[in-house]
Structure formats: C-alpha cells, structure tokens
C-alpha cells in the first residue's frame, strides 16, 4: 500500500501551487483555478487520511466539499462574467474600487 505520506506530500505540493497561483497571478480565471486546486489538494488529504484511519468521515467530507465547490464555481463564474461585461477586464488589480 502506498504510504500515506506520499499522498500528504502530493496534497501539500498541490496546495502550495494553488496558494502561489492565487497570490502571484492577476487573471481572475487563473486565480479561480488556483482556488479549485487548493480545494482538491485538501480533498486528497481527506480521502488519504480517511483510508489510513479506516473511517468514512474523510470520504463524506470530500463529497460535501465537492458539492460546495460546484456551487461556488457556478456563482464565481457568474460573477466573473458579470464583471467582464461591466469592466471589460478580468485583471484582479484593476478591480480595486472597493477600498478606503
């Protein structure tokens, strides 16, 4: 059986890539994809630990997370399209009206 540390390592790497993408990139779609990447990194950790501990909890939480992620994606993409229609940009640094 593959040791759980391998899964955890992959999960950590995926999460780190997601974080880096979130902070470094300015394109909203890419940032959005980074968020999905982080979510799935965590999902991976959940199922791996669930199998390791012999518990169903991990799998159940992953289903919930996937459901929420689907809803979140729908809303997020909706906002994104609305933003683009209004501002003709999806650059995060240009969307800074809500400050001070």
């Amino acid at each position: 059986m593959t040791p759980v540390s391998y899964f955890m390592g992959l999960s950590a790497v995926l999460f780190a890539i997601g974080v880096a993408g979130m902070i470094v990139r300015r394109n909203l779609i890419v940032m959005f994809m980074s968020i999905e990447l982080m979510l799935n990194a965590v999902n991976l950790a959940f199922v791996a630990l669930g199998r390791q501990l012999g518990s169903m909890d991990g799998q159940v939480i992953v289903f919930f997370a996937m459901t929420v992620a689907a809803a979140e994606t729908a809303i997020g993409l909706g906002i994104l399209i609305a933003t683009f229609r209004n501002r003709a940009t999806i650059d995060a640094d240009d969307l800074n009206l809500l400050r001070w």
């Binding site: 974080v19 902070i23 940032m31 995060a92 640094d93 800074n96 009206l97 400050r99 001070w100």
Partner: protein, 639 residues
C-alpha cells in the same frame, strides 16, 4: 396655636396653573385669554388671602393657620415638610403681593398690548408672583429659600425679557449674579442655623420650632443673622449689593413695578421680620442692619437727586425706601418696617406704573429733560403720580406719612440718635427728588418734540384703573396704623406684634413733635425742589457748575459700578479669559476631547491602508493568518 386651613394651598395652586397655562397654551389661546388668565390667577390668591385673614382675625392674637401639604425632604432624623403657615405677618405679605401684584398684572395687559411675546411675559410674571407667595407662606427656612431663589430667577428672566438687546441681557445676568452672591451668604446662614440646632438633636428648620429653641440659637445668632442679612442685602438691594437694581430698569415697566413694590426687594425685610426672634438674640446684628439700612437710604437718596432718567430716579428711591425699612426692622420695630413695606408697595407700584404710562405716552422716552408740561395732556397719570409722590414724601394724611413716622420714631426711641438724624435728612432729600421728578415731568414748559406733541395720549383703561386703585390705597393705606391713642390707633402694629415682637422704648418722646418735625423737613424738600425746578430753572445748572466735583460724583453714582468693575469684574473676566478659557478650557478640556477624536481618526487613517482593494494582498494576509494559526496549534501539540 396653629389651626388647619388646607385652602392655603390654593394661594400657590392658582399662580402655578397660570404659569402652566401661559407657558404651554398661552400663544395658542390668544391674547384675550392670556390677558384674562394672567391677572385672574393672581386675584384668586388675593381672595383666598382675604378669607384666611377673616378667619385669622377671629382667632386669638398670635395664632396661625397652617397647611402641612406633604413631606418634602427626609434624611434620617432631619425632615422638611412642604408646609404653609399663615400668620399676621404672612397675611400682610400675601395681600400686598397678590393685591398689588394683581393690579400690576392688569396694567401689564394694557402695557404689553403691542408686544408679540405676551404669553412668555405673563408666564414669567405669574411665576414671579408664585415664587414670592411661596417665600412668604413657607413655614420653614428651606422652603422659604426655594421662593427666595425663585424670585431671583424670575427677576433675571424679566429684566432680560427683551433678550435680543445685548445690554438688557447683560443687566439681567448682572441682577442674577449679584443677588446670587447674597444668596450664598443666605445659604450658609441656613446651614449655620441647622447645624446649631442639630448639634442638640433638634433636626428642623421650622420657624415655630426654631422659635421654641432660641436658647440653642443664641451662640450662633450673630453669625447666622449677619449671613442671612448678606442674603437680604442682595435681594433687597442694600449696600454693598444694591448695584443690580438701578440696571434692572431695562425690563418692561410693569416688571420694575413688580420687583420694586410687590415682590423681590421686600423679601429681605420680610425675612428679617420673620426671623425677628433670631435677630433679637444678637443686638449687634440688628445694629448692623439698622446702620446699613440708614447709610443705604441716605446714599441712594443723594444719587436720586441728580439722575435724569425717570425710572432710575425711582430705582434709587426704592433703594432708599428699603433702607428705611431696614432701619425700622434694625431698631427692632418689625411692625413699623413691615408697615412701611406695605405702604411703599402701594405708592411705589403707583409711581412705576405712572412712569410707565408717561413712557408709553411718549413712545419710549425716559429722559425727564425731554418731558415737562404733561399735566394737561395726561390728567389721570399726573394726578395719581402726584398722590404717590405726596405719599412717598410723607405728607399728612397720605400713606407714607404714617409708616415713615413710625420708623423714625422707632429709631429715636430706641436710642439711635445719629440714625434718626440721617433718616430725617433722607426724608427731606426724598421729597426733594420726588418733587423734582414731578416738576420736571408734569409742570413747567413742554420740552417734547413736535412729533411727540402730536401723539401724546392718556393710557387705556386697563392701565388707568390700576393707577386709580393704587392712588386710593396710597391715600388711605396708611390709616390702619394711626399714631397710638388716636381713634383705632396703632391697629397694624397691634395685629403684627404678637408675631414679630415689639421693641422696648428706651427714650420717651412726644410722637406729635417728631411728626411735626418730619413733616417740616418734607415740606422743606418740596420747597427746595419748587425753587430749583419751577421758580428759578437756571439754579440747578449754576449749582452744578459751582460744585462740579460733587455733582460729578453724584451723577456718576459714586462710581460704585466702576469700582466693582475694576476690583471684581475685570480681574474675574481676566482670569476667566486668560486662565480658565485659554488655559483650562482650551488646553486641558478641549485637548482631552480633541485628543480622543484625533486618536480615533489617526487609528482609522492607519488602518484604512489595509483596505487597498487588491484581492491578492488580501489573500496573502489571509495566508499569513492561516499559517500563524496553524503554527500556534503545531507549537502547542509538539510542546
């Protein structure tokens, strides 16, 4: 002996209702309603007072009607009741205050007919009368103090009635602050009395109980008497706190009449008569009262000789006459002082109301040098004013003759020879300056402008009827106190003596001789005024020219105002602006308040930098936060 008479409460209830009505509904109800309600609520107490007087006369001498309404203050063994007491002294005061006050209210309806603020005016007038009635009805010192402060407040409100005029507002404040200095003394006096009684387990300020414990009061009588007298010098405009009264002239004329005749300035005399039992314990305090009264009386009379503002002459004459009352009560002749208070209320109210009618007729002119010859144009006013002037001058058989005689006689018989002489000279000065006023205003050549000549007119009936009533009272009001042994004789003093006490005469004297002398002096004053202002009108200027220094001092009112300004007001103003305003207020208090605001503002300025609108920096901060939380738990687990 005290008999229950709860109806006394009505004496206070009606003016209080009047205040509420005029305050809240007056402007809506309209002028006619206010003109009816304003005076009516003062005449009801007068009627109740008359009924109470009839009941009182049927009781044995020295009895009192009481109305213990409710318990006011209870603190351990100390308690003060809201209780009213109606004895001979109160009877006189209630009838004078509500009777003369009511007539002044009627007159006001005519006088204020043009003023838009009539509802506010009658609110204050009713409140003023209410406060004075409370002062005289109170059966303990503390309740009396409530009325005492009430008249002070109302005098401020009424003197500054036309508050959009800066000088008037200033004079209102002056009256309030100067009398407040006296009130501080009065309050400390009350504390002294209360402490002296409480030290022996008598926790009360009730007059009757105080009187029953005079032995406990004896050690503090001098101190308490002088402190209370300080309050009286403020309220009753005696040296050294009289300075507010001449400036109180700026209020509407009925207000002056109310302050000078019925309410306010008589409070001090009443207070000393009420506490006569305390003052007789300390003859030195009474001597101070007598001396201050006499000096004030003379001092004010000399100033009145040269003033040219008609109301100012009357103001100084009030100070002078109150001085007489102080001389009366100071010699222990409390009944004589109260008698003069009563007759003075009649003729001084009349004088002021007449002066108001003259001012009204001339469209606001108060300078006597611009009057003259008004006798034919204002027949009722000039006749009633002449009666009042004869009364204040002490000419037989007008009211002032009897009361002033009684005071001078008391001064003589109690051995104050010097005070008697000064009082006699003052009587001469009084008739001189009062007839100067009459001659300058009503006789001689007219000095009116052509425009004034055109519209000068006699006052409406609402104003002339009170004048006529008061004129009758100025004539017959003194007859209740005829010299002893003549017809019903000294009825007034016999009525009051059981309550206020009677002085022991040390010097025997013929009343007739004293009366003759006083009349002679008064007539001499009239003759002097006649020679100076009608016969040889050039003479006053000539005299003023030759005694220029004296004339300047007198017209400058001895420069007392200037002296007070220099010694007290200016340093206080300086201290207030430079230290209290700039130092304490601006630097410390304003600094604390501003500092609070600035701290919050600065904090916000710093924190808003965080809200930069950059999603990625939010994400970074979020990440750092998550790492910090994680690090905390990791550190906890691994420890």
């Amino acid at each position: 002996m005290a008999y229950d008479f709860p109806a006394l409460g009505l004496i206070l209830l009606f003016p209080a209702l009047g205040v509420l009505f005029n305050l809240f509904l007056g402007a809506r109800a309209g002028r006619a309603a206010v003109n009816f309600v304003g005076p009516a609520v003062i005449f009801v107490p007068f009627a109740v007072g008359l009924i109470a007087l009839v009941k009182l006369l049927a009781l044995p001498a020295g009895a009192a009607l009481v109305a213990p309404l409710w318990s006011w203050i209870t603190a351990g063994p100390f308690h003060v009741d809201f209780a009213l007491r109606f004895d001979a002294l109160t009877a006189v005061m209630v009838l004078v205050v509500s009777g003369v006050g009511g007539l002044i209210h009627v007159y006001s309806a005519g006088y204020m007919a043009e003023d838009a603020d009539y509802a506010r005016f009658f609110t204050y007038m009713n409140l003023f009368t209410l406060a004075m009635l409370l002062l005289v009805l109170a059966d303990n010192l503390l309740l009396m103090f409530v009325g005492w402060e009430g008249v002070g407040l109302c005098s401020y409100l009424l003197i500054a009635f036309w508050y959009d005029h800066a000088e008037f507002a200033y004079n209102g404040r002056k009256a309030f602050i100067v009398t407040r200095i006296g009130d501080a003394g009065f309050l400390v006096g009350i504390f002294t009395v209360a402490a002296a009684l409480a030290a022996h387990g008598v926790w009360t300020l009730n007059f009757a109980e105080m009187r029953a414990h005079t032995d406990l009061l004896r050690p503090v009588a001098l101190v308490a008497g002088l402190l209370l007298f300080l309050g009286a010098t403020g309220k009753s405009a005696q040296l050294p706190l009289y300075v507010w009264l001449p400036d109180a002239m700026v209020g509407p004329t009925p207000v002056s009449a109310l302050i000078h005749a019925a309410t306010m300035v008589t409070a001090g005399v009443y207070m000393i008569a009420r506490l006569g039992f305390l003052y007789t314990l300390a003859p030195e305090a009474l001597t101070v009262v007598a001396v201050v009264g006499t000096v004030t009386s003379f001092f004010a009379a000399t100033v009145a000789l040269v003033q040219s503002d008609i109301k100012r002459v009357l103001a100084y004459s009030t100070i002078s006459q109150i001085g007489y009352m102080m001389l009366g009560v100071g010699t222990g002749a409390f009944a004589a002082g109260i008698f003069h208070l009563m007759t003075h209320a009649f003729f001084k109210a009349l004088l002021f109301l007449c002066a108001g009618a003259v001012i009204h007729a001339l469209g606001g002119e108060q300078d006597m040098r611009k009057m003259g010859g008004l006798r034919r144009r204002l027949p009722i006013t000039s006749l009633t004013m002449l009666i009042a002037t004869l009364a204040i001058s002490g000419i037989f058989p007008f009211a002032g003759f009897f009361s002033k005689d009684l005071i001078l006689e008391a001064a003589y018989t109690s051995g104050y020879r010097g005070l008697y002489v000064i009082g006699l000279i003052t009587a001469g000065l009084t008739s001189c300056y009062m007839f100067r006023l009459i001659f300058m205003t009503f006789y001689g050549e007219s000095r009116l402008t052509a425009e004034q000549e055109h519209y000068v007119h006699e006052a409406p009936a609402a104003m002339t009827i009170p004048l006529i009533v008061l004129a009758v009272l100025s004539l017959v009001g003194g007859w209740v106190g005829l010299p002893r042994g003549l017809m019903w004789g000294d009825a007034f003093a016999r009525f009051l003596d059981p309550v206020v006490g009677h002085p022991a005469a040390t010097v025997e004297v013929s009343t007739l001789a004293l009366s003759a002398l006083a009349t002679l002096v008064a007539v001499a004053g009239i003759v002097v005024a006649w020679v100076f202002y009608l016969r040889l009108p050039g003479l006053p200027m000539l005299l003023a020219h030759h005694a220029a220094a004296l004339y300047r001092i007198l017209t400058g009112k001895y420069y007392v105002d200037e002296l007070y300004n220099l010694l007290i007001s200016r340093p206080l103003f300086w201290l207030s602006t430079n230290f209290l305003a700039r130092g304490v207020d601006n630097a410390v208090i304003n600094g604390i308040v501003d500092g609070t605001g600035l701290t919050v503002e600065g904090g916000g300025e710093g924190l808003r930098q965080v809200e930069n609108g950059n999603v990625r920096s939010y994400a970074l901060v979020y990440l750092l936060g998550a790492i910090a939380v994680l690090a905390y738990y990791v550190a906890r687990v691994t420890r």
